[in-house]
């Protein structure tokens, strides 16, 4: 089985299998079991692809969708995407394994599988046109998750923001793939349109208002699955970084830095746990964006690492909030809810994943943020200090949430029949995620090396394009 096509087919087939099964009248718990099994298989298969050098060097090129001589990779597995595949698979597994039973339905499972399929295929292409089509599909999937009457307002907010983003992206890509635009003002306009589209999609200030709204009043589960993989970051790496001018990158990096501090600061004072998650996501996502736009190998590698650590850590943290909500209802952060003694594993997982988001030593986030600060400070000295402030505020926000959600006198009834502890499937998923975040933090060399290789490749492509001009 050394053919990359077979592995790719397998990776795509697993979520497709769940989508297919969800069209039949299968019992929801059975469908969940199938989704969990598929998720585990997908993580393992994606890991094989990531760890096997022959499988990492595969591409199908075409010149049908671009003016670039020699064409572009319609489908490819390279150093960058090979690590993103297990990342996308892990997010899907996390989602299907810990979704509370009360919130589980066939259409939801179908949507999660479809969203994963779209994320996975996005990570496998460098074609702007294909990315656009996948982006349209993923926004539609997200909107369909907000279709119920209770979320009409949020659906409209998302439709306006992400619709505008998709439209800008479409116009930008259309201009970019037009013949004869290379090195003209049209290419610059196209790039700016794509940049704004990416900024909206990633919730960068001032295009961010939809993020806290959809986290707070929308549906948190679909919001996590839509946002945590950070397809906007992938758009940036593939379409923006290789082509953008230094001024453009500097503008993006400064906006992203401002967002990182803004999001972390506002997460610290929120009353609603969901809204705090929204701002935390904004902050983390912006840190990734800042790293990607630094044109320093080290900062870019740091950004790529923070992408993984913040994605997994944040998704885990938000999932902990959902699991807790399933036991307690909506969570506000203005009082202490207690319950550590009845849910110690959930509390430990929440803390560990929150600390991974803040870049605490011993977690993968620490290495990522160190590299980010290290590399970025040479390019934009102010950036290093902004990352420090954002990290300090994020740490405070996470600890405030932890104290509020798990400490204090328990407001839960003490009836012995009320089971609050995690179910085995939830417990093992959270433990595995925590072990992954800490394990990769304690032994980060292979992943760090791979991210350095990826950033070398990305900046190599940029160098080629710049010298070609």
């Amino acid at each position: 089985m050394s053919d990359a096509r077979l592995w790719l087919a397998g990776l795509v087939a697993l979520p497709a299998l769940v989508i297919g099964a969800s069209c039949f009248r299968v019992d929801v718990e059975r469908l969940r079991r199938l989704a969990v099994a598929s998720g585990v298989a997908m993580v393992l298969a994606a890991l094989v692809v990531a760890l096997s050098p022959p499988l990492r060097d595969f591409s199908i090129r075409t010149s049908a969708l671009t003016w670039i001589p020699g064409g572009e990779d319609l489908i490819r597995i390279d150093t960058l995407s090979s690590v993103l595949l297990p990342f996308a698979a892990a997010l899907w597994l996390l989602t299907v394994a810990v979704t509370p039973r009360a919130a589980l339905d066939r259409s939801g499972l179908r949507r999660t599988a479809l969203a994963t399929l779209l994320t996975l295929t996005s990570f496998l292409t460098e074609s702007g046109v294909v990315l656009l089509l996948l982006s349209v599909a993923s926004v539609w999937t997200f909107l369909s998750a907000l279709a119920d009457p209770a979320h009409r307002y949020q659906r409209r907010v998302v439709a306006v923001y992400l619709g505008a983003s998709t439209l800008l992206f479409a116009v930008g890509v259309a201009l970019l793939v037009s013949p004869g635009v290379q090195n003209t003002g049209i290419e610059t306009v196209a790039m700016w349109l794509i940049v704004v589209a990416a900024l909206v999609r990633k919730g960068i200030v001032p295009f961010h208002a939809w993020v806290p709204e959809v986290f707070d009043h929308g549906r948190l589960g679909p919001a996590i699955l839509f946002n945590a993989p950070q397809v906007g970051a992938y758009m940036t790496v593939v379409l923006i970084v290789p082509r953008a001018s230094p001024e453009m990158l500097r503008t993006i990096a400064l906006l992203a830095l401002g967002t990182a501090v803004y999001g972390a600061g506002l997460a610290l004072v929120q009353r609603s746990a969901r809204r705090a998650c929204g701002y935390l996501f904004m902050s983390q996502s912006a840190l990734v964006m800042a790293g990607l736009d630094c044109t320093s190998v080290t900062a870019l590698a740091g950004g790529l690492l923070v992408w993984l650590s913040a994605g997994l850590g944040f998704a885990g943290l938000a999932r902990c909030v959902l699991v807790l909500e399933a036991r307690r209802g909506r969570l506000d952060l203005t009082s202490y809810h207690g319950g550590y003694d009845r849910m110690p594993l959930l509390a430990i997982s929440f803390l560990a994943m929150g600390l991974a988001c803040t870049g605490f030593p011993g977690t993968l986030g620490f290495i990522g943020q160190e590299l980010l600060v290290d590399g970025a400070v040479d390019v934009f000295p102010v950036m290093g200090f902004a990352v420090v402030i954002a990290s300090a505020l994020t740490g405070l926000a996470v600890l405030r949430m932890y104290f509020s959600l798990f400490c204090g006198r328990s407001d839960l009834p003490a009836h012995p029949s009320l089971r609050l502890g995690l179910r085995p499937r939830e417990a093992w998923t959270f433990v595995a995620l925590v072990i992954a975040l800490i394990g990769l933090g304690l032994a980060p060399r292979p992943l760090v090396d791979s991210r350095f290789d990826a950033s070398d490749e990305i900046l190599g492509v940029r160098q080629e394009r710049v010298s070609g001009r």
Binding site: D341, P361, E370
Partner: protein
């Protein structure tokens, strides 16, 4: 400073010294994570044994180092992560100061471990306490032996986190938890200052090696006087936060919410002195930055006066001891700023041991005192508050300031917390307005809808 090649026994001894508490952390942490915490009958002896091993190893390392009479040595244990600029290395800087402080830390940790084993017997959070205690000891040793900024920062963060979580040890009490949040807020300022110093150091000098910086080689690594001063001032701010110097002193009495052994080891003996130790380490840098030195001396002296006064009017034993401890910390910082390094270290070591004993024996002393007061039917002693001040009016005002702990909490609230929360609240409303501006009417949720909130 000339760095000599490390001898193998020293490398091994230091590794065993640092590795023992890290092993304890790994064992207890993994067991807790899989929801199978070790029973008390294993945890206590395990913690005690590993602390004893660490203490013996670091004590032997101190002796070996003294016998070989070599200069400071940089022990390298490989690269933790790599980068094009060299990456993050696990390095320990070994000299008399670092080994003495590390050995002292493990000795104190061993005593506290044995005490805690009995003190927290059958306490619900027994296992959690020892996990956090292992985090703390590992962090302290990393701070003591750090050979580069990354290792120092890791230790600094571990000490901070474990401290905050131990303040919230009795987590069913809201006061403990809110006090822990206050503590961690100040610690984050300290951490940010420390990390900013590290970032600046890397940016201007291109190195994060503490052996160069703390060995007095700042000019040789291209550090100008201005940059050296800024880095030193950032370090003083970091130290002020960690050691509760003014204006950050208000977190110290709040930190007394934790169990007595943790109060003893953190705020009586080790954590509170971590800042002093860092200043001692950074003495060569301070000597090149007179503004930072002046700042440290001023903060130390002011803190000593303030804490000395405040300690006299506290109504509970632990707060009184905490402020007494802070008085000595202020004096130690002043000694370092003046340049009396040897005296400062002897003072630090002596005070750490003495205050540990006071904290640990405080519950028994109180118990005996209550028995004595019951027997004589009156208060056992009346020390008199601030009697050294002759004027009644001045004494009353000083008493009020001391009783209110310098109004530091209120000042911090007015100057930092309220403006910050006000601004953040305003920005949150602006964010909501940005949505409403796009869609003018917020649609009401239907009564029977919205069950799919997940």
């Amino acid at each position: 400073m000339t760095l000599d090649m490390p001898s193998i026994p020293l490398t091994l001894l230091v590794l065993v010294g640092v590795g023992s508490p890290a092993l304890l952390l790994a064992l207890l942490g993994v067991a807790s994570l899989v929801n199978r915490p070790l029973p008390e009958r294993w945890t206590g002896p395990l913690a005690g044994s590993l602390m004893a091993i660490a203490c013996a190893a670091l004590g032997m390392a101190f002796v070996v180092y003294g016998m070989t009479e070599t200069g400071p040595q940089l022990l390298s244990y490989g690269a933790w992560s790599a980068s094009h600029e060299g990456g993050m290395a696990i390095e320990f800087l070994v000299d008399r100061l670092s080994l003495a402080f590390a050995a002292l830390s493990t000795a104190i940790a061993g005593v506290v471990s044995a005490f805690s084993n009995r003190y927290l017997h059958r306490e619900a959070g027994y296992n959690r306490y020892f996990v956090l205690f292992a985090v703390f000891v590992t962090g302290m040793l990393l701070v003591a032996l750090a050979g580069n900024v990354a290792v120092l920062f890791i230790g600094w963060e571990l000490v901070g986190l474990s401290s905050a979580l131990l303040v919230a040890f009795f987590q069913e009490r809201p006061a403990s938890v809110s006090n822990a949040f206050r503590v961690v807020s100040v610690y984050r300022i300290s951490d940010a200052a420390m990390l900013s110093a590290a970032v600046l150091l890397r940016h201007v000098a291109g190195t994060d090696s503490l052996s160069l910086l703390f060995g007095g080689a700042a000019p040789t690594v291209g550090l100008s006087a201005t940059n050296a001063t800024i880095i030193a001032i950032l370090l003083v701010v970091a130290v002020a936060g960690k050691s509760a110097l003014l204006p950050f002193s208000s977190w110290l009495p709040r930190a007394m919410e934790g169990p007595t052994p943790s109060s003893a080891v953190y705020y009586g003996s080790l954590s509170i002195h971590a800042g002093c130790f860092l200043l001692l380490r950074a003495a060569p840098l301070l000597e090149q930055a007179s503004a930072a030195r002046l700042l440290a001396g001023g903060l130390g002296a002011a803190t000593a006066l303030f804490a000395g006064m405040t300690a006299r009017v506290q109504s509970d034993m632990k707060s009184s001891l905490a402020y007494a401890s802070l008085t000595q910390v202020g004096i130690i910082v002043t000694e370092i700023a003046v340049g009396w390094y040897t005296l400062a270290f002897i003072h630090l070591a002596g005070h750490a041991c003495f205050r540990l004993l006071q904290f640990l024996s405080a519950p028994n002393v109180l118990h005996d005192l209550h028995g004595l007061e019951d027997a004589i039917g009156d208060h056992a002693s009346d020390r008199g508050h601030l009697r050294v001040v002759r004027s009644d009016r001045a004494r009353r005002q000083l008493f009020l300031i001391a009783l209110e702990r310098g109004f530091l909490d209120r000042i911090l609230d007015r100057v930092v917390v309220e403006p910050f929360t006000g601004l953040a609240g305003l920005l949150t409303r602006v964010d909501q307005w940005l949505c409403d501006a796009v869609l003018p009417t917020r649609l009401p949720a239907p009564v029977d809808g919205g069950n799919q909130d997940e």
